[in-house]
Structures are given as C-alpha cells and as structure tokens.
C-alpha cells in the first residue's frame, strides 16, 4: 500500500517538476553553446536565466512539498485519501519519501546542468578540463589524507547529514500543518500552521543549543598556523558536530513523524 501511495505521489509531482528539470537542462546546454562564442550580453542573460531556473527548482520543490501535504490531505482530497484502506502513518510516510526523492533529484539536476554546460564545448577541451580536474582532485585528496581526512567518506557523511536535517525540517512542516488543521484553529488554519512551524523551530533550536552546550562543554580550540593541524581540527570538530546533530535530527524526525500521524489519525478535521 505504501508503495502505491508513493507511486501516485511521484506521478503528481512529476507533472510539474519534470518539465522544469528538462527546461533547466536544455537551458544549460544552450548556455554551453553560447559560451563557445565571446561573452556578450546574450550570454550573460543566459547565465542569469539558468541561475533563475536553478533557484526555481529549489523553490518549486519546496512549494510542492508543502502543497502536496496541505491540498492532498487536508483539503477536499482528504476525503479520498483518508478513506483509502491505509493508515495515516502510511500517508505521511509516502509524502516524506516523495519529498526526499525529489529533493535529491533536484540537486542532481542542478549538478547535471552545470555539467551540461560543458557538453557543447569541443571534446578536446572537455577532456583536458577533466584531466586537470582529476589532477587537482587527487592532489587535494592526498593532502587531506595526510590530515587523516578521507574525502569520499567526508562527502558522503555530509550529504547524509544534510539529507537528515532536511527530512527533519520537512517533517516539522508536516507536523505544523497537521496542528494547524485542528478543530480549535478552524478559522485560522494557515496562520496556525505558520505559527506552529516557527514555534517548533524555535523550541528545537533552543533545545539543540542547550544540548550542545552540555555535549561540547569541554571542547577546546588551540590556535595554530599549521594548516595540517588546522584541517585536522576542522575535520574532528565537524565530525563531532555531525555525530551530535545526526541522532538529534533523527530523533526529531521520528518524533514529528509519529506526532503528525497520531494527529491525523485521531484529530482529523476536514472541512
């Protein structure tokens, strides 16, 4: 059942995002073409347009995440969704999974559109660029390894943390919306959701700061001119922070997931 819900979620969102993705990639290709000629006003405009598209992907994805939850579950369509033979937790999970997937896809398209920039360029130039890039990359990697930093691991770890933080934030959005639809707020649904979101974020921030003060109480920084040492310190402290924030985000994610599901199961108030 969850799979089916996800399927329909993807289809609904794809209608809007896929054309946007295609548009962005095409524009990137055009940009690449324009770059073969001298920079001029037209090229500058193209770059601006591409950036606009890139930002649009981000904004539209966020808007869709909110809209899909609000319109599909908490307005008239809710009559359809909440009478399906599925649990409210499955409904929330399908939205979350969809949000995750489309966010990742959006980022990938962003990346691809930068790469697409290079496609129209002449193959030799591209090959040379990549050769140079991999040289630089290897140098950086070796240098960082000396400071005990594995580039691949670091990249992977950071991506994971970003995703987790994002998911927690999205789940907080969902939670706020489900609080906003409670019968007590019947006339101020949107306002109540908004305020709940701000309050929730505020409270979580305060709690997280308080916790950090406890966990990192004994943390010390010794100034140094040695870049190697500095990098070492940077990686250690980042890792410590992530080791703290990841479980916290996971905890928040679970807390708000079950909170949202519970509210929708027991206090649903469709107009």
């Amino acid at each position: 059942m969850l799979g089916k819900l996800c399927k329909y979620e993807f289809q609904s969102v794809a209608r809007t995002l896929v054309p946007l993705y295609i548009g962005t990639l095409l524009l990137a290709l055009l940009n690449g073409l324009a770059m073969r000629f001298d920079f001029n006003f037209f090229t500058g405009l193209m770059i601006l347009a591409l950036s606009a598209f890139g930002i649009a992907i981000f904004v539209v994805t966020l808007v869709l995440i909110i809209q899909r939850f609000w319109n599909n579950l908490l307005k008239d369509e809710g009559y359809l969704m909440f009478t399906l033979p599925v649990s409210s937790y499955q409904l929330v999970a399908s939205k979350l999974i969809s949000a995750l997937v489309w966010s990742i896809l959006g980022a990938l398209v962003g990346l691809l559109s930068i790469l697409a920039w290079f496609v129209p360029l002449n193959i030799e130039m591209v090959a040379e660029f990549f050769r140079n890039f991999s040289d630089y990359f290897s140098q950086i990697r070796i240098y960082l390894a000396q400071a005990n930093i594995n580039v691949y691991f670091a990249f992977f770890r950071i991506c994971l943390s970003v995703l987790l933080a994002m998911l927690a934030e999205v789940q907080m959005l969902y939670f706020s919306m489900s609080v906003g639809q409670l019968p007590v707020f019947s006339r101020y649904r949107v306002g109540a959701s908004f305020i709940t979101f701000i309050l929730t974020n505020f409270v979580c921030q305060k709690l997280s700061n308080a916790l950090m003060n406890i966990v990192f109480k004994d943390f010390q920084y010794t100034a140094t001119n040695d870049i190697g040492l500095f990098l070492h310190f940077l990686s250690d402290s980042t890792l410590s922070y992530l080791n703290f924030s990841d479980p916290m985000n996971l905890g928040l994610l679970l807390l708000f997931f079950f909170g949202t599901g519970w509210i929708l199961k027991n206090k649903l108030n469709l107009e």
Partner: protein, 232 residues
Amino acid sequence: MTPILECRDLSKSFGSKEALSQVNFKLEPGRIAGLLGPNGSGKTTLLKLANGLLQPSQGQILINGLAPGKESKALVSYLPDKTYLNDWMRIHDLLRFFSDFYGDFDLNRAYDMLNSLELNEKDKLKTLSKGNKEKVQLILVMARKARLYLLDEPIGGVDPAARDYILKTILNNYSNDSSILISTHLIQDVEQIFDDVVFLKNGSVVLEGPVDDIRSEKEMSIDALFREVFKC
C-alpha cells in the same frame, strides 16, 4: 449475524455544540436504509464517523464489528456530498487509482457505467460539468463490491433521468451480505427502495425501523411523515 453498521450510544461534540447525541441503531446485512433529516441534523457527521474521518466523543461506531480503521475502510465505499477528486486527473487515471487501492473494485463494471452515462474515459475531470463530475464519483463508489455503501445525497445534483439510473445502479449493487445507507432529503424519489429508515433530528434518533411497519402504523408515506416530524 453481525450488523454491518452499528452505533452504540454514539455522541459527537464540536466544542460546545453537540452534533450527535446517544445515537443507537443497527443496520443488518442485505438492507437498504435511509438516513433522513434536515440540514444540520447530524447526518454527515454520522457518515464521517463511520469512515473514520472523525472520532466519537462518546460511544462507539462499528463496521462489521470493527472500529473504523484500515480494515473497515476496505469494506466501506463512501460517496461524500462534495467533489473531492483531483481535478487534473483523467477519468481512466481515477479508475486505475481506485482499482489499485481497492481489491473489490470491478473495472469492467466501471467501464459499463461510463458507457451508459456517455462519459469518455479520456476526459479530464476539470473539463466536466458538475453533474458529470458527480456521476463519475458515483461510478467510482458503486463499481466496488463493498460490504457497506455510504451515500451522502447521491441524487441531489443530477437530472431526473440520471436519478433513475443511479437508483437502478444502487438496486443492482444489492446483495445479501452488503448494505446501503443513503442520506438524503429528496425522500419522495427514493422511499420505495428503502427497507429501513432512521430519522435524525438535532443529532438524536427520533424514529427508526422497517419502512413497511412505519407506513402501516402511521398510514402515510415516509415523505409525508418526514414533513410532519420536521415541520418548521
């Protein structure tokens, strides 16, 4: 035999307003019942409770002995009194959606009904007139072989010919182990298909029972009785 729908001392309040109060009744399998009452009498609230869209304040509502939840929703086919479907979807998308989620959805039946009502499966919902949208919603609900059909004003917004068709469809869906509860105020048109009726006034049951018994006892039609009971 377990009643398909049972309300036990069912009450529902919204803040200080009591929408339903101590409602008790049973709907046995194989019966077609009318849930009758003026606007605001609690009919829609009752139907929403049966669907798990609302939780009781007190008392219980049971579908085939189950509290409303995942399992009961698979048994219930609900037609709300509003358009609740995604406007951008085409009719055949909706058919596939229902067929995907409900094991008891009969796709062939749905297509037959679409043909009879002269609707094109390729049409997008938003291009349809209100009457046609309601017909689509009805088809989706009636193409299921559910145990309990809850219809909220199924014949309200359609023309008389479509009304006849809808009533015939309801009768065609009849089976010994499924029941239909119709909430309506167009009583004259439908009273001859009811087995039982329940009159709701201000959230309470004021009259209920088999239709023929009521007719012989009061010596009037249900429609006439309604006018009397709910005189303004």
